[in-house]
């Protein structure tokens, strides 16, 4: 009987451990970790090009994550991308005249939205839009420009 009970206890422990591992995987290593971050407010920004920006990409201020991208939509009238971001309630003192840009972490890293704070005493509120934006730098364009300049420079030398 005691042997039987220890089996049952061990099996119970195994099942608990398995589900704990599942819960850990699901909540700590996936995008769920960002969704479940308490109260937040939304800000909007328009970009002429968002590049490879994806839903749930981080929004950073001074390198610190303050929220995530909620949705990216094409604005049919103006033909630019409207990005909705949800920002943590704790960071509710972002100056009105701050600017947003689509940046890349490292050469191959993912794209995120970086916010450069302005100097206005007034803060952005829920649903406000960041007027100053800078679109994603297209790596292809950069390389293209560099190649053209480089080759023309070479030909001048000759």
């Amino acid at each position: 009987m005691t042997q039987r009970r220890s089996h049952a206890v061990g099996t119970g422990l195994f099942i608990v451990l398995g589900f704990a591992a599942l819960a850990y995987l699901a909540t700590q290593t996936t995008s769920l970790v960002n969704v479940s971050q308490g109260a937040s407010y939304t800000l909007k920004a328009r970009f002429t090009n968002v590049g490879q920006l994806k839903n749930r990409a981080p929004v950073k201020l001074a390198g610190v994550r303050i929220g995530s991208v909620q949705s990216i939509q094409l604005e049919p009238a103006k033909l630019d991308a409207l990005v909705t971001m949800s920002i943590d309630k704790r960071y509710n003192q972002i100056p009105e005249d701050s600017s947003a840009s689509v940046l890349t972490s490292g050469l191959l890293g993912d794209q995120y939205i970086g916010i450069q704070p302005g100097g206005s005493p007034n803060s952005l509120k829920n649903g406000d839009e960041l007027i100053l934006t800078q679109s994603a730098v297209q790596l292809e364009d950069l390389i293209g420009k560099f190649m053209v300049n480089g080759s023309s420079g070479d030909s001048k030398k000759k």
Binding site: T11, I15, L22, T29, T30, P58, L108
Partner: protein
Amino acid sequence: MSETAKRRNILLDGLEQIGDAGLFLPTLIAAIPRSMRYFRETVRQLWFVGAMSLIIIMTCGLFVGMVLSLQLYHVLEIFGGTASTGTVVALAVYRELGPVITALLFAGRAGTSMTAEIGLMRATDQLSAMEMMAVDPIAFVVTPRFLAGVIAMPLLCCVFAAMAIFGGHLVGVTWLGIDNGTFWSNMTSNVDVWKDVVDGVLWKGLAFGAVVTLISVHQGYTTPPTSEGVANATTRTVVASSIAILALDFVLTAFMM
């Protein structure tokens, strides 16, 4: 006998085994209501195939995560993308390596012991003895093992994946010096709960668990009652399970893409 056995087409033999195992599945599932009386037996088997496999699964998960992290770091370093190490470790483990390696280890550890155990029960008349005591050997011996395998595999996959992440973090952050915050934020913004954790770890784990245990109990139950028969059945369990896991993995991946 051996002459004719040799002459039999291997392909035909394989097809026969697959068909036979396939027909075994409905029998097995039909016995689930009856095997509920032997719930304790299912718990006992869960202990043997699940809890007793934990150590090997955890150790292997840890090392797989560590080696992945080490390899990926040095490859990604070339492109300046070491921040993605955690992401790639997580995706590789959740989508492929976790379920596949866990299933292969499971087949080697739990599958073979199921086959040998049931085969030996057949060889020593224990299954007939149960029938004589009016206890259905399918409901008492086979179905509890099958259920235990199906329940245990997804859980073991989760444990494996969690250990792999831990191992990857250990090498990537503690040893190679990737920033802790970068490691996690990169991972969390690229790993999806449904596509990666549920589809990958859970569903694949469940499917592999069902296939491996079906093969194991079927091989055991149909073992010729000799010591040679048990040995051959055990070998066949490993071979057939390994092929089935990798083939099924491709099919499932193609479906989930």
